[in-house]
Symmetry: C2
Subunit: 356 residues, 2 copies
DNA sequence: TATTTTTTGAGACACGTACATCATTTTCTG
DNA sequence: CAGAAAATGATGTACGTGTCTCAAAAAATA
């Protein structure tokens, strides 16, 4: 099969030369299979010159190691842990659901995923948990938790022990682009664009609600939001961020206050992934008339709100994509490969009633 | 490794029982490996009772066949062909680019993809090309072409010959959900929502442009658009679809005409994936002032237009996702598996300047 | 019951790579 | 140049499955 597609350029037809194997490599480089193996797996005791010869042969033949066969040979399996907050957040439930759903898909690639819920606000217990993981049982961890020095250290030690670590949804400054999640600045700016355009350049103020402004995510969303508003919608005025601390009584209080003090309220932006409390408070108060409302993350609640018109748009990141992307990145890390960045970019999705 | 994670429930620790193999299956079912193989690969000459015994063992042990090892054993490789139109469409270029970019990723799974450009408006030549493909050289084809009886027949015959066929981006009625592409009705409705909300309920008419209204895609987008406009934006009036037939002079003529006859023009919806001609014509005419403009697909042109404010939003489907999804579906077909539908759903993306 | 047919078992080899052992060659060192 | 050290080769086994052959057992038929 496939003789046509990658037959060697020579006229000899005896060997179809499908995909070069280590054997072909050895012949091409004029060394033994054992030496090829030493080079491929970075074992020492090989002369520099020989290494180069093999590498040249790799290039010439376009050799790509058959990872499937390699994994078979070394009985490589992958076990990844998702360290997630313990909260009852609907978005989190979506994430967990997708992890479980993806199990059977991943199983085919010998990947097993577990969820471990952690107390995201206790850096000590997080790092204590991470310290229990070792390479013998765990190949990698995706960690969703706010950044802290302790966490940073714990991640560093994980890597030393040969366990891959990957910031998940919550960003960690130190990691550059080695994380999985959407660009929160862009998300905030997008919320601003939508509110700005939906309110049709009528003047007004915008209420912004977060669970807490301690997290990088909220800060960046706010930054993006403000930048966009001030640059393109000077008619609108973004109010200071309200923090609910996950407490619905407090939410009711501060929201009611803000509504009372800002009769020109034109928009609402819920930055945290839990929009139930703010929206229900607003409904209770009864001034929801013509306010443009935007929230984060697609959940049963936000979907229903969008359908009923109680929400105008959702800014979301695809939970399934988040999970799969994290797994692919962790696996690539274990395999010592690079991931294709274009595939792993998490989109800032705009969801309206019509493209639910 | 991983003894802890899936050790058998018994107290015997000798065999960690990582993942059951055909050997374990044979033992459990009380048959030989040969018989297990016969059952697994559907060969005949096995008593019904024995088949059941093996199936029961599969269930009991939770056996999942190691596809990687299986592919290794049978030297299974995959070769997929993308049969795409010959046009110079920028969106098409994006697709082709992503196919090429994905090559190295796919190569690891022993998948090879080729692009074959076809004359999408000549059903005869399409089916002639498809007739040249056989299972010996090609495991599957993704076909992007308008539906026609000839194409339908050709696809049917492909399947008979053991070649998987998959409608790609262009829908084929007969295929139910066995295709890859976005929901065009939803896409049209989303365009309508955006235009409706961006124009802020001021009355006005909307110009709708397509290359041709012959294709299902355009028809469905139009349907979705009209439904949404009539239901939620009675102040807006969607004009009859203009067909450019890919001819820019014609485009200029009909667009100029429409602009002249509709001084209340409030919006523009370019339904086809090539927005260059319509937009430049509109710019030439010079009445682009406050018209809300929406086009399809993310290309260098539409991106630039979005940045410069010459376009208000893009309705897009991710070309990379389209390509990968097609390959996964074709592979699943060859492997006789089901694909996880949630992963394969192509989102109707809304792209604004802020979430480019 | 004898014979044929169907069903099952046992075993070997293959796929491409990893990994280990031991022998052999080459290179370096004193 | 002898001896030690380094580099390389040769070879075997393993991973989990597919595929083949041949023999053995079981079931169906005459």
């Amino acid at each position: 099969m496939f003789d046509k597609m990658c037959k060697s350029a020579t006229t000899t037809l005896e060997k179809p030369m499908l995909r070069p194997t280590t054997k072909d490599l050895a012949k091409e480089a004029g060394v033994s299979r054992a030496t090829v193996d030493r080079v491929l797996n970075g074992r020492d005791g090989v002369k520099e010159k020989t290494v180069e010869r093999v590498n040249k042969a790799i290039k010439k033949l376009g050799f790509v190691r058959n990872i499937q066969a390699a994994n078979l040979a070394r009985s490589q399996k992958y076990r990844f842990v998702f360290a997630l907050p313990r909260s009852g957040d609907q978005f989190l439930k979506e994430i967990i659901h997708h992890i479980e759903e993806a199990r059977s898909t991943f199983a085919e690639d010998l990947i097993w995923c577990d969820v471990q819920q952690i107390d995201e606000n206790d850096p000590h217990s997080i790092s204590a948990f991470l310290a229990t993981l070792d390479a013998a049982t765990t190949s990698g961890v995706a960690i969703m938790a706010p950044e802290s020095p302790q966490l940073r250290d714990a991640i560093f030690r994980l890597k030393e022990r040969g366990v891959a670590a990957l910031p998940f949804i919550s960003d960690q400054t130190t990691m550059e682009d080695h994380w999985v999640g959407m660009n929160n600045y862009s998300a905030g700016a997008t919320a601003a664009t939508l509110i700005g355009r939906f309110t049709a350049s009528a003047p007004g103020s915008i209420m912004i609600i977060a669970e807490s402004m301690q997290s990088r995510d909220s800060l960046e969303r706010r930054l993006g939001f403000d930048a966009e508003i001030s640059k393109h919608f000077p008619n609108l005025r973004a109010l200071p961020s309200l923090e609910t601390y996950g407490n619905s009584e407090r939410a009711h209080h501060i929201i009611a206050n803000t509504v009372r003090n800002n009769p020109d309220l034109a928009g609402l932006y819920v930055m945290s992934s839990e929009a139930r409390a703010p929206l229900s408070v607003l409904n209770d108060i009864g001034t929801t008339s013509s306010i443009v409302k935007i929230a984060h993350e697609r959940t049963p609640f936000t979907e229903a709100a969008l359908r009923s018109g109680n929400l105008d748009a959702i800014i979301a990141q695809d939970p399934g994509h988040l999970v799969r992307s994290a797994v692919r990145k962790l696996k690539a890390n274990v395999d010592k490969r690079q991931t294709k960045s274009s595939q792993e970019r998490i989109r800032v999705e705009v969801i309206l009633r019509t493209n639910l």
